[in-house]
């Protein structure tokens, strides 16, 4: 089946794509660029560098802007998927939804309306095992935003390796938060995966803090590195 990926540049959409690529033909990436940082549906950090990831994946990217108002942003998502259907003949959509009924129901509804398949390979996955799988499959993932206690400025820029994984799991158990950032506790940017043709390296960035536990990395320069 020819499928498009709802692509945020983070670990979930990248890993869902990786799993789906074993069975389906990934033909395009679809990204919604939200002006609203508090969007319930879409990740905003790292959006300026989605083209760089698309190039590394050797896939075309459909980018549609939205004001990010609740429910209205869904019309923009539907519009983007319609473009993908028309331009790339996709028959299904891959999403990296894990636990969010809000996201899942809305994506299922849009796909149902457009008569295409909704495919959610990470749905209800075991979060700790998922972190293991990411590391085992050599995904290079950088934390580029935080929005929850006890994450701080020091968390920003960390690569999710074995050490960071244990730190996150310990924090999630102590503070009863998702260890994969499903509640928006942190956001990620993928620098390498088995599907990347070349690796990425963030060469220059600033850490912008809005409060002690809320901030993001403003990427300034990314380089391509041969694998």
């Amino acid at each position: 089946m020819r499928v498009g990926v709802l692509f945020s540049g983070g670990k979930d959409s990248n890993y869902a794509m990786y799993l789906a690529s074993k069975e389906h033909e990934i033909v395009c990436l679809i990204s919604i660029i939200s002006e609203n940082k508090e969007s319930y549906m879409f990740q905003t950090p790292g959006n300026d560098f989605l083209e760089v990831q698309a190039k590394a994946l050797n896939l075309p990217l459909i980018k549609v802007k939205t004001k990010g108002e609740k429910e209205i942003e869904l019309k923009d998502l539907k519009k983007a998927i319609k473009i993908a259907i028309k331009k790339y003949n996709i028959e299904g959509i891959i999403s990296g939804a894990i636990k969010s009924n809000y996201q899942s129901i809305r994506i299922q509804n849009i796909c149902n309306d457009l008569k295409i398949w909704s495919i959610n390979p990470l749905w209800q996955t075991n979060e700790k095992k998922y972190l293991d799988e990411l590391i085992k499959n050599k995904f290079e993932i950088k934390i580029i935003a935080i929005a929850s206690y006890p994450f701080t400025r020091d968390t920003l820029g960390k690569i999710i390796d074995e050490k960071t994984k244990y730190e996150i799991i310990n924090i999630s158990e102590k503070y009863k938060i998702s260890c994969v950032g499903e509640g928006g506790e942190f956001e990620t940017f993928v620098l390498n995966s088995p599907l990347f043709k070349h690796k990425l390296e963030i060469k220059e960035y600033d850490k912008i803090m809005e409060s002690e536990n809320c901030g993001f990395i403003q990427i300034k320069k990314i380089s391509e590195i041969k694998k």
Binding site: K22, N109, N112, N126
Partner: protein, 204 residues
């Protein structure tokens, strides 16, 4: 008590990506229950049902109806004495095996489910995760144990919903139980919301 649970994947092909989405969530929660082992099998596989204590037939993708072309693979539902729980597509399969029809009924949302008959799996009124385009007519060997809070007359967009006349009210069937056997069907997804329903089934 040690138990071995069979999870049947009704997806369009063996080991499809939909196994991740519909069978793994059930398996993940079963893993947490002490003394329970399980196997996931695709419906096209050769299965020795005697090796299992209970059977769960999972849901499948909204667009996937391939199983309707292979209903003979589900004849075990009538012959086995093991308790069975059909989830979404699983409930539709149970209904079809007992010669009931499917009827168009779109609910892709968090719905309110109301218990209509006392049973061992759930009680009262509760929110459910519903992703379906079809409900069922109740087979004559079964009774309705839950309905959607929605009724056809209140939701014009559901004008094509499956309806069943009960006490002069049009209802959307959300769960059924065989009148004599421990065969249950639920249209909603307890592996997403209301996990205790699966635990209660395992504890039957």
């Amino acid at each position: 008590m040690k138990q071995n649970i069979l999870i049947i994947d009704p997806s369009y092909k063996k080991n499809s990506i939909f196994k991740n989405e519909f069978c793994f969530p059930i398996a993940n929660m079963i893993k947490e229950i002490p003394n329970i082992t399980f196997e996931i099998k695709h419906y096209t596989e050769k299965i020795n049902y005697d090796e299992f204590d209970k059977i769960i037939i999972s849901g499948s993708a909204l667009k996937d109806f391939e199983y309707l072309n292979h209903l003979n693979k589900f004849e075990f539902i009538k012959t086995t004495n093991n308790p069975i729980l059909g989830i979404c597509a699983g409930m539709q399969i149970i209904a079809k095996i007992y010669e009931a029809k499917l009827k168009k009924c779109k609910e892709i949302e968090i719905t309110k489910t109301i218990t209509t008959k006392k049973n061992k799996l759930f009680s009262g009124e509760f929110d459910t995760y519903s992703i379906h385009n079809y409900s069922i007519y109740c087979p004559k060997e079964f009774e309705i144990i839950a309905k959607s809070k929605k009724v056809q007359s209140l939701v014009s967009e559901y004008s094509t919903c499956s309806v069943f006349f009960l006490k002069n009210s049009k209802i959307i069937i959300h769960a059924i139980k065989h009148k004599k056997k421990e065969i249950y069907g639920v249209l909603f997804h307890p592996e997403v919301k209301n996990k205790e329903i699966i635990e209660n089934f395992i504890n039957l």
